[in-house]
Structure formats: C-alpha cells, structure tokens
Amino acid sequence: MIEDVVLVLFGISALVGAVMMLLMRHPMGVAMALISTMVSLGGVYGLLGVHVIAVFQIMIYVGAVMVFMVYAIMLLDVRDVSFSERYSRLLWPGLAAIVVLLGVLFDASRFGRVDPGQVTGNLFGVQPFSAAFLDAYWLYFELSSVLLVVAVLAAVAIVKLRRRRDG
C-alpha cells in the first residue's frame, strides 16, 4: 500500500520535472529538471524491484551523461536569443501534434493486455542479470563496447578537426 503511494509520488514528480524542462529559460535549469526526472525514475525502478537498472540509471544517466551536459552548459555560456525567447515558430503546431499523439497513444492503450507472469525469486538481481549478459547476450555486450570505443574515437576526431581549423 505505502509502496503504491511512493510509486505514484515518484511517477508524478518525474512528470513534473519533464514539464519544468519545457518551461525553464536557462539550460542549467532544464538540466536540473531533467536530473530530478531521472532520479525519480531511478526511484520507480527501485520500487519495481529492478535494482540493477535503478543503480545504472543513477550512475550512467545522472552521474555521467548529465554531468557531461552540465559541463557543456557551463562551457558554452553564450548569452543569446534562445535564452530570452524559449520557443520557436513551431510552438502551436507542435502542441497540436502532441495532443493528437497523446490521444492516439491513450486510445491504443485501451486495447491488448499482457498476461502478468509469476515473479520468481530474485529475477532482477545482479546475478541473473550478469548471467544473462554472459550467456544469451554476450554478442550485444561486446558490440556495445565497440560502439563506445567508436564514440570516443569520433569525439577525439571532432576535437582534432576543430584544432586544425583554428590553427
């Protein structure tokens, strides 16, 4: 019972953070709103019992991705028109499109039901998770490490490109 209440609170605070992202003026405020959304989602994952994902949500998203983003915001502290005028010309068409999208999604969500399975023991613990990675998903695990290496190489290449253009 209390678990359901906390779950609803975390879910609503995630949504509130998302709405704040639309309303904030400065990118730093948007980043803080996004961090609060991500932490709330981490709480939701923890309450659902998927602790591995909750830990990675905090460690990777908040700890790595958002810290990187905050550094970029501090680095690019150029005052320009996008600070005072938040929205582009597409504000009203975009709003209309999102209302239509939400209508379609909610309409679709009335159909189809998933049979609830039986949660047996500690299915979402670290041990079954790592066993699944080394057993069934080892190829994807290796491919994702290749993807990360390629991303690092691309980032270095972009920095080099900039140096060459400047020098």
Partner: protein, 100 residues
C-alpha cells in the same frame, strides 16, 4: 488504474513531453536534453513490461539503451561545441543553412 497502466501513462507522458520540447524549444542543448527525456520514457515502458512479464529481456535492452545514450551524448556535445564555435549562438534557427 492499476500499476502497469499508471507506469505506461507516465512513460507516454515523458515521451510526448520530450518530443514536444524537441519541436518547440530553440536552444540546441535543451533539444538534446529533450531527446534524453524521450529515451527515458521508452526505458520506463521497457522496464514496466519486463517486470510485468517476469522476463529479463526488457531489462537487458534498457542497459543497452543506456550505452547508446552515453555514446550519443559523447558525440553530440562535441558537435554542438563545433557549431557554436562557428556562429557563436545556441539558437537552432541560426543554423538554417543546414536545410540545404
């Protein structure tokens, strides 16, 4: 409203708000963050379904999408830095030459 429907509604809301932000906001960094928000919405629905069907596959998929998000941001921010160095502005409207 049971738990699964509530979480799926939250996930839809996050995705829709992220898409709306990507469309209507002008700041490049804010647009990037809205993309992250969309990814988070999809991740929530994957975890909900994984939990609901008591299988691990959805959770593994979420882990892989974390990695893709990290790689995406590692490339996107240097690109934004390059763009800003060219025009000295974060306003996406200033880069309309990219339309071709």
């Amino acid at each position: 409203m049971d738990r699964v429907n509530f979480l799926l509604a939250i996930s839809m809301g996050l995705f829709a708000i992220g898409l709306l932000g990507l469309i209507v906001r002008r700041n490049l960094l804010v647009m990037l963050m809205c993309m992250e928000l969309m990814l988070n919405g999809v991740n929530l629905s994957l975890v909900t379904f994984a939990r609901h069907s008591a299988t691990l596959d959805g959770a593994v998929m979420v882990f892989l999408s974390f990695i893709v998000a990290a790689a995406e941001i590692a490339i996107a921010i240097p690109i934004v830095l390059l763009l800003v160095r060219q025009r000295r502005t974060l306003d996406a409207g200033a880069y309309d030459r990219l339309k071709g």
